[in-house]
Symmetry: C2
């Protein structure tokens, strides 16, 4: 389990402060509405100073994306061979919390991808590797006999696609439920999509966790 250090804003360097404040403001008010003037003003520094650290707005966005990918990679738990139900759920939840922190990359992806096409490539890449992870996992569960026998192979492939679909889209769907739905809600949601594919015994066991 990774430990996140809680750091006070005034302990950060100016460069780090810019990143932290940018993330918060982009998430809340939108990348297209937040200018380098806004960020500088909010931090009580000059715009010139901000541009000394980051020559332009895209450089800030690229740094944020780099940080996001780094955190996601650091949170990988599945070693390719074994993954019990609880571990799987907790790993999913951890990933969802990181995604929530960097939700601009999911809720504002069109805006960001148009500004920086490389970020789109990075996202596509990320989900390709996630899809392989999930296919491995399905393969393990299959060989352990946890799936129903009357489900066709193509339908099991569909399950993998649906899994990735949900991970990519939950922060978008969350927008339609302003208050109600947290990362926990969608982690359980993702989990639930597996249930009807499992055999009766496994399904009962999984349902307990929810």
């Amino acid at each position: 389990m990774q430990i996140y250090r809680l750091v006070q804003m005034n302990q950060l360097s100016t460069k780090e402060k810019i990143i932290a404040k940018s993330l918060a403001m982009f998430n809340e008010y939108g990348v297209e509405n937040i200018t380098t003037r806004h960020i500088a003003k909010e931090l009580g520094i000059s715009q010139g100073n901000l541009h000394y650290h980051y020559p332009n707005k895209n450089e800030i966005l690229s740094t944020l994306f780099h940080n996001f990918i780094h955190q996601i990679k650091s949170a990988e738990r599945f070693n390719g061979t074994e993954f019990n139900t609880i571990e799987m759920y907790e790993s999913m939840l951890e990933n969802f919390r990181i995604m929530d922190n960097y939700r601009l990359f999911f809720q504002q992806n069109e805006v960001i991808w148009r500004r920086i096409p490389e970020i789109k490539n990075g996202m596509v890449q990320l989900f390709l590797s996630k899809k392989n992870e999930i296919l491995d996992l399905i393969h393990i569960y299959k060989s352990e006999g946890k799936f129903r026998q009357d489900i066709s192979a193509s339908q099991i492939d569909f399950l993998a696609e649906q899994f990735i679909f949900t991970i990519q889209s939950w922060l978008m769907a969350k927008n339609y439920h302003p208050q109600g739905h947290s990362a926990e809600h969608y982690a359980k949601f993702l989990f639930r999509s597996w249930l009807p594919y499992l055999n009766n015994e496994t399904m009962k066991k999984w349902e307990e966790i929810l």
Copy 2:
């Protein structure tokens, strides 16, 4: 089945041309990047003329949203009592094609909602009514014994949530597959999510359509 008339651009009034061109350009280049200047230039009219018809950019967006809602409402087919499998699939597909035409409201919703909060309310409202529709449909299928008996009631409710989730999010997920995936693909995708909840006989029948 609704008939869409194919109309040449030069048969439209200036006011209609503005709407058609705006839709195309917003979809392709993003609402935040397309200005009234761009639209006017592309149409070969002056910016002043454009502002005569639509006093500001938001007025164009509101009109587009109004048109979208009108088309969706006109395409409603489910009468609340009967809906066979083929009808259901074709109705889904028709809805998906309309959504694809107006994809800005799904792929750029954060940008648009921040500009015009009423559009968010309209979207939330739309999906609330769609959710009720789907719950009615599930109720019918349930009473006809088409669902598996060993699936819990809460899991059936989950199916309804997942259904709405997919409708809201497929155009977002589509972004990750630039070439491959069409409205047809996601209509089938949506359809497939029902399969493991159905009893064996019904599942086989549904699977034929895919």
